[in-house]
């Protein structure tokens, strides 16, 4: 089990990362919050030694993706609940709504690529999909976002 102080440092540092990935994957804040609790419980009880912050981050993201996948397959999936965040700019609200309007597989790849700065190869490995599938999803997500943006 991790030392409490190590756990708390990692939890505070990465709780929003886990939340945002879960939100991208699941599309609702209620389930995303539950995933945060679930993932950090796993972190709390793990015997794993993390060589670095990056190692812990990578581990947390993989566990988050799997937890989301499992939740989607279970009967516990809840209906979409709109995010209540007030964005600083109207354009940001548009972007958020446009991204969340995309299919799950595009949202998650977008988040990992644009926000977490993972390479397409890293995303392919995390999501167990082909590199070409990552690039295709990124490309298609961009196209769909452009289309939505044009209509705003």
């Amino acid at each position: 089990m991790l030392e409490h102080d190590v756990f708390l440092v990692l939890a505070e540092k990465y709780k929003d990362t886990v939340f945002r990935i879960a939100l991208s994957y699941l599309g609702n804040t209620y389930d995303a919050d539950d995933i945060v609790q679930d993932v950090f419980m796993k972190l709390y009880i793990t015997n794993k030694h993390f060589a670095s912050d990056d190692h812990a981050r990578y581990w947390l993201i993989r566990v988050t993706l799997n937890a989301c996948k499992n939740l989607l397959k279970s009967s516990w999936k809840t209906k979409k609940i709109a995010v209540t965040t007030a964005f600083e700019q109207k354009e940001q609200e548009y972007l958020y709504q446009a991204v969340m309007g995309l299919p799950e597989k595009y949202r998650t790849v977008l988040y990992l690529y644009y926000y977490e700065d993972f390479s397409v190869k890293e995303i392919a490995k995390m999501q167990k999909i082909k590199v070409s599938a990552v690039t295709t999803r990124l490309s298609r997500a961009r196209d769909q976002l452009k289309e939505v943006w044009k209509n705003e």
Binding site: R62, Y111, T136
Partner: protein
């Protein structure tokens, strides 16, 4: 501000409402231990059932004959895999990648949540006894156990590996991976894909992949890629005569080449299967479950799997769009499989 910065600025405003109370976590840990014991027992039962089922299913061409691996979540640090036939097909896939128990959920749910089911994988290259399927099973097994913490991959990033010219179409980023892949394709007498093209519209796909319009009037293809041997994949959408819109993924694997794609089908027990002869005269296997459905066609030179993103209880994005067995047959009829090259 570029697109990436704009995205980051927007999404950085999203925050979880969860806080970390150590007392809560300590209590949850005690519950977790109890659950793990139950899960381990349940998982053991599942493995026995799956192993037994492969015996009675051996004379039936269907999903069971495409199965190349099973993941059964157990207590932390122990995942188990099984396959349906030869030893060469055993793959040890670890769904969580870090041996994590999937079954812990938030405290208010922990007493009710069903035990996680095994995840079963099928080959998209042919039935499990084909060389193509054996190869993808071995490769998947290797990849699952290699560089599990991603350290090597993180070092490589998007930079050149020196291996790109030959292995660019596979997730190969070290010489050890390259050697393993070469060993597998040699063992099963397969070739590696050497080039890939993106296809931008339905007409181009029909022209390159078919000897006629195999998509009919109902189907629209998008996000298509095709390998040099004619193996292709696309995301598609079909509009049935009854107004139902079906989203799907279509994979046509040419035999003789190594394609490293597998498909998680959830639990095979959830599927009803039957054979059906389409209006184009091709007999296909159909399978339907609550969450997804499949159309499988062995065309001799190639093997087709259509992953329909809807089942009897759930549609693509929500519960709208769920389908029936009759809808699945109607959907199969929208293709003319005899026109695929």
């Amino acid at each position: 501000m570029n697109n990436k910065d704009f995205y980051k600025t927007t999404f950085s405003q999203l925050h979880t409402t969860k806080n970390f109370n150590m007392e809560d976590y300590k209590k949850m840990k005690i519950k977790q231990k109890r659950i793990n014991k139950i899960v381990a027992a349940a998982a053991f039962v599942c493995i026995i059932l799956v192993t037994s089922s492969s015996v009675y299913a051996s004379n039936m061409f269907g999903l069971k004959d495409m199965l190349i691996g099973i993941i059964t979540p157990t207590s932390a640090n122990s995942n188990v895999s099984q396959s349906n036939s030869s030893d060469e097909n055993n793959i040890a896939q670890n769904n969580t990648s870090e041996s994590i128990n999937d079954n812990t959920v938030s405290e208010n749910r922990v007493t009710d949540k069903p035990v996680a089911s095994p995840y079963e994988y099928i080959s998209l290259q042919g039935f499990a006894d084909s060389n193509e399927s054996k190869a993808v099973a071995e490769w998947t097994n290797f990849c699952e156990s290699y560089d599990r913490d991603g350290v090597l991959l993180a070092q490589v990033g998007n930079g050149p590996t020196g291996l790109d010219s030959k292995y660019d179409l596979y997730l190969v980023y070290t010489q050890e991976m390259a050697d393993k892949l070469d060993e597998i394709v040699k063992k099963y007498n397969l070739s590696l894909h050497s080039s890939i093209i993106d296809i931008t519209n339905t007409d181009e796909l029909i022209q390159k992949a078919g000897s006629g319009n195999f998509l009919g009037m109902a189907n629209t293809a998008y996000s298509t890629y095709m390998y040099e041997d004619g193996t292709f994949h696309f995301d598609g959408c079909a509009n049935l005569d009854n107004g139902l819109k079906i989203e799907y993924q279509f994979m046509n694997c040419k035999k003789g080449a190594f394609t490293d794609t597998i498909l998680n089908i959830g639990s095979i027990k959830d599927y009803d299967e039957w054979t059906y002869t389409t209006t184009s005269g091709i007999t296909v296997n159909l399978a339907i479950s609550p969450n997804k459905s499949l159309i499988i066609a062995d065309l001799g030179d190639s093997f087709i799997t259509i992953n329909v993103l809807a089942g009897t209880e759930h549609g693509f994005l929500d519960d709208n769009g769920k389908i029936t067995s009759s809808d699945l047959e109607s959907f199969a009829n929208t293709f003319d499989f005899s026109l695929i090259k």
